[in-house]
Symmetry: C2
Subunit: 675 residues, 2 copies
């Protein structure tokens, strides 16, 4: 822990825990009125719930007491009361009237009142109770006398009804425990949908008892059994979360064909795809047998997954197998299907009919939106906002995922400012209702169970707030401040988004001192968007995902804080920040030497030296820049030239990462140049 | 990371990775002959296996390549060859003849030859291949040119055939993922038995389809389904590990009676026990219906668990329910059963007959050893070595667990020096054969899935070596040196024995700077043996297991290294170590102030302040002691008196922990006293 980190920690601590409630809550509630005094916890704290033992609310309260006690060590009674006691101080009274069906549009509101005399949580449905309990936990503060909550009344309800996370368990599999801890994370952030992308070119991840070759041949052994899936669904359900399954078709379906080549539009045999991208294998939509198969399979899945929605994918069908198959061409001609879009629409309509028979609504990606698609199909928009509004105007309900691609290592503020229904939208009030909400998407080309949490969290909490809180709740520094606190709170679920890093570094460095390596990993971020794929590494599931870009993560906090300092100096000319800038640069300058020691004789760490060398060089330039400014000495041309070259190089990708301090040092450098 | 830690790291690094192979292996192999030159890895490294795809050896090789590549980033081909290539350099040739049945006494040996031209691994059975691969991974070194293994020939085989870990999943449940990562840990350490303690007063943790009330009423919902258990057994089997189930009876059986009170010897109703200790509820051994029930239940379990051994517990029956039940008393009289031991033996004999019918051998704890017990019952010894030898002399096979109670927070060296068959044993060679081996026992009164790994690892690796390596392999510093390296290597399985600590501290401290708290947690150890239960805390499953003693762990390395320094000074009068002692004390002295900042206003951290105050006071005394010795100034009586009082207090338990530096500072103090 270096001095600069301590400074950051103090900063967060001061700005966070001491200034009261509004800074503590994420997502920000709709309405919050402060009162006088505070409710203080003692070991006598009890909870009354008007719901039966074993109910969703009751189970939620049991988990809540554990979490509260694990944090406060008050040694609270672990059983809640189902009869209201005479003495009602030290009491949290919980009541709701209805067990939620977990359907979009349900009332998810809650009302939480904290007074010195006691606490009350009421909600029309039990999911409101779960949300209220999360708010309650976030409100707890402490001082030397004990734990307390300031008096407050909170009326809260989500802005959007569909607040989801997609996990792609197909490209890289995530086993049950990873899914469960992420469900807990979703529940903490008041999200309510887990969308499982179950099938892909790279894997078929759900057991089919009707067609066992699907998972047996299509998965390399990594799949959810039906019992496991029922277990996951139940686990999610008691936490107020729906599980929406996706079976991507007709494209992205190579893994189906390993066991069932007869479903494909081209000749087999097929093997599980290891590379990533858009591949040719596509379901043959012209054969009757295809629909016999799909009806059997989807009916099985409709029984397994109780949610009334089912996602059929529909994205990125390149049509090559269709173009190359004379029988398919003939079929199209015969049926007046003028192009592949029309053929896919033909396919979708047939699939939708199967789902309807099973009382399911269909969801598809943008591409399923074709003339003739029934209006009750839901469109999930991944390609852009235009598609979203276009679908809404055609009468479809929509879910936004464009802008929420958390796998692409963009900073949280980008997702946070991506409003599904921005102020400047062109929709009528009626049309606006069709925007159900959004889903963060965790595509799994470049993640494993070891680092997936670090891609999902904490940034998904910013998306959770976007989907829950008011449009006007959009202060980015406030969001980052609360996100830092939320990140630590999320570890309670067993999430590994903080601890994964030192563990992964130790794999490479063994028992060396890894402090300098941790610093390096915190100064870079994985290249954003799809740039990692353009660095000469041919990614496939065969690659080791244990290298620097897998260990680094988006929103690196140290460079961000440093950038703030540099901007403050550059823009506001505030010289008070110079000592902090200098202290940081002086700490970074010897880093290359330290990394050389840590990495010596370890070839897997050689790439880290390229980064550390850049860091040390940049630090030197930064310090020299400060010197020229402060001493008003003349700036030698040779220094300018050499520094500029170094800075330009440092701005380039390095080891599939971006060095996040390059821009800041460039600001210092520019400040030193003669005006 | 303080300077002293860096010193330690360097120490380990230098003594470990640079001095060659013998220091790297754990457990130490039986025979190892160094050769000339070294085998160097390139991306062209390939493996040939003479076993079919999907075989245990083949699957082991696939996991092996992943691990190798995750560490070296050589981008190796992930598929191994099943046809021997023409070119045989850069090749690891693997061959075995037999698929192991996973039975005690099977040949587990392997032969590993590394030469510059290539590597060969041969073994009579495929488990030998798995062991050889673990050795291979441990042999890998690196330098600036790449990764390599020095030429060597290793002939290896275990000393004992039964090398196990018991996990008590009953008192606190451990879900599937915890079990799986620990299975991987066992496999890395060449252990071969996972003993699951499935039933207890506090929980019945396995689904019974025949008597579903057992798990439904007896588990609070935390149990393994049969599918999960089959999955665990399969996972263990492919890693060469047997799963031995234990159903503890007739005592420790409260949870059975919640759903089936008719099985008990006293009147119900019963509830799941939350406290820990020895409880009265005991199966009624006198009713015929008891054996009808047990036959049905055990037959179901015998089918579920393929291992030929089944453990029936048999420990700690206090006999109170039997004494109090007139019908049982009458039965004893009628059948000439003179005491409760005789009655339990009657019960055991009946149960053993049921197991025999199912072709299972019976294992029981010490207490089952009573006159008349058939000699083919296996005795697991928990009470002492005397019981072990007594059982052997009566012709029983035995497994040692006494001395391997890893839940009691004793240092690794204690377990390491606990030889199941010490040199001074009084057994004949024939009798010695009946000592099958040993099992580390992870009893779960005081652990949760969050910290259980930190109790099992790395100390179980020391036990693994005791059970695998020769009796003469008993150098404690060497063991600790290799244990430190092994500990980091074990993180590869996803084990959380290193990362749990900062995570648990952040739960209490939120986004404060936790560096000083991490230091504190590293200076204490949980009280050893059963002392935690005598500190006034009434432990039960209702308590939060998130306090200082749950965050601390055995074998704290920093105090241990400090003690070495102080002993060196005290015993050998070596003044060269004084600067290191002083540096450490100067670092600790301000700790109390730092912890005050970190813990201010956080009541759950108040207990930590008691510890930090002691640390700072001791550091002051230590520094003053150094001063008096070095300056030869006269030592004031008042200082002696006050310091002695402080030291005496510091030696007492604090917050169910032991402050591990107290003894070392006492040495410094004594050195300063006038002779």
């Amino acid at each position: 822990m270096n001095k600069f980190c301590i400074f950051l920690f103090l900063l967060f601590t001061l700005s966070g825990s001491l200034t009261g409630q509004p800074n503590m809550l994420m997502p920000v509630p709709q309405k919050m009125i402060s009162g006088n005094g505070e409710f203080r916890f003692t070991a006598g704290f009890r909870i009354f719930v008007n719901q039966p033992t074993g109910s969703r609310a009751g189970a939620g309260v049991s988990r809540f007491i554990r979490r509260l006690d694990n944090k406060t060590h008050l040694l609270l009674a672990k059983e809640w009361l189902n009869k209201k006691p005479e003495q009602q101080n030290e009491l949290l009274t919980i009541s709701c009237n209805t067990v939620a069906k977990l359907l979009p549009g349900e009332d998810e509101s809650y009302l939480l009142k904290i007074t010195p005399e006691g606490c009350e949580l009421t909600a029309p449905t039990d999911v409101g109770i779960l949300y209220g309990l999360e708010t309650f936990l976030q409100l707890i503060e402490s001082d030397s006398k004990g734990y307390f909550i300031r008096s407050v009344t909170i009326e809260d309800a989500p802005r959007f009804t569909w607040r989801g996370l997609l996990i792609d368990v197909a490209r890289h599999f995530s086993p049950v425990d990873v899914i469960k801890r992420n469900i807990d994370g979703l529940a903490m952030m008041k999200m309510n949908v887990l969308h499982l992308h179950l099938t892909e070119d790279q894997g078929f991840r759900i057991e089919s008892k009707v067609f066992p070759k699907l998972h047996q041949y299509g998965s390399d052994g990594d799949f959810f059994t039906q019992e496991e899936m029922r277990n996951i669904i139940q686990y999610a359900n008691v936490r107020g979360i729906r599980v929406v399954p996706e079976f991507d078709m007709p494209g992205h379906a190579t893994s189906w064909f390993v066991g069932h080549p007869e479903l494909a539009s081209g000749p087999g045999p097929y093997t599980i795809e290891k590379k990533f991208g858009v591949f040719d294998p596509t379901i043959d939509p012209t054969r009757k047998e295809t629909y016999v198969f799909l009806e059997k399979f989807l009916t099985e899945m409709c029984e397994l997954f109780p949610d009334p929605w089912m996602h059929i994918g529909g994205d990125e069908n390149n049509g090559k197998q269709w173009d190359a198959n004379p029988k398919i061409q003939e079929f199209m001609k015969k049926n007046g299907l003028k192009d592949n879009h029309a053929l896919q629409n033909y396919f979708n309509t047939k699939v939708m009919a199967i789902l309807k028979k099973n009382k399911k609504k269909m969801i598809g990606w943008d591409e399923v939106l074709q003339p003739g698609l029934p209006a009750d199909a839901v469109i999930q928009s991944w390609r852009g906002k235009e598609g979203l509004e276009a679908a809404v105007k055609k009468g479809h309900q929509v879910i936004l995922s464009n802008g929420y691609y958390i796998d692409l290592s963009n900073p949280a503020w980008k997702h946070y400012t991506n409003d599904p229904l921005p102020a400047n939208n062109t929709l009528t009030p009626e049309e606006q209702k069709n925007i159900l909400g959004g889903e963060a998407t965790m595509w799994a080309e470049l993640v494993t169970p070891e680092n997936i949490d670090s891609r999902i969290w904490p940034r998904t909490a910013a998306i959770a707030e976007r989907l829950w809180s008011d449009r006007e709740v959009n202060n980015i520094p406030s969001m980052y401040n609360r996100l830092a606190r939320t990140s630590i709170r999320l570890e309670e679920c067993g999430l590994e988004h903080i601890t994964y890093r030192s563990k992964m570094i130790r794999r490479l460095a063994g028992n060396r001192n890894i402090e300098s390596l941790i610093t390096i990993a915190g100064l870079v971020e994985p290249l954003k968007d799809y740039k990692r794929h353009a660095q000469g590494v041919a990614y496939s599931t065969d690659l080791p995902f244990t290298r620097l870009p897998d260990i680094a993560a988006a929103d690196a906090p140290v460079p961000l804080a440093f950038k703030d300092l540099c901007e403050t100096w550059f823009r506001k000319k505030d010289p008070d920040v110079i000592p902090a800038i200098r202290a940081q640069l002086e700490e970074w300058q010897p880093l290359h030497g330290e990394v050389q020691v840590a990495a010596s004789g370890i070839p897997a760490l050689a790439p880290w030296l390229i980064v550390s060398e850049r860091v040390s060089k940049l630090s030197k330039i930064g310090l020299e820049s400060l010197h020229y400014v402060e001493s008003r000495a003349s700036v030698p041309d040779a220094w300018v030239k050499e520094s500029y070259a170094t800075l330009s190089e440092a701005a380039l990708p390095v080891q599939e990462c971006e060095l996040m301090i390059a821009e800041s040092v460039m600001m210092l450098f520019q400040n030193a140049l003669p005006k």
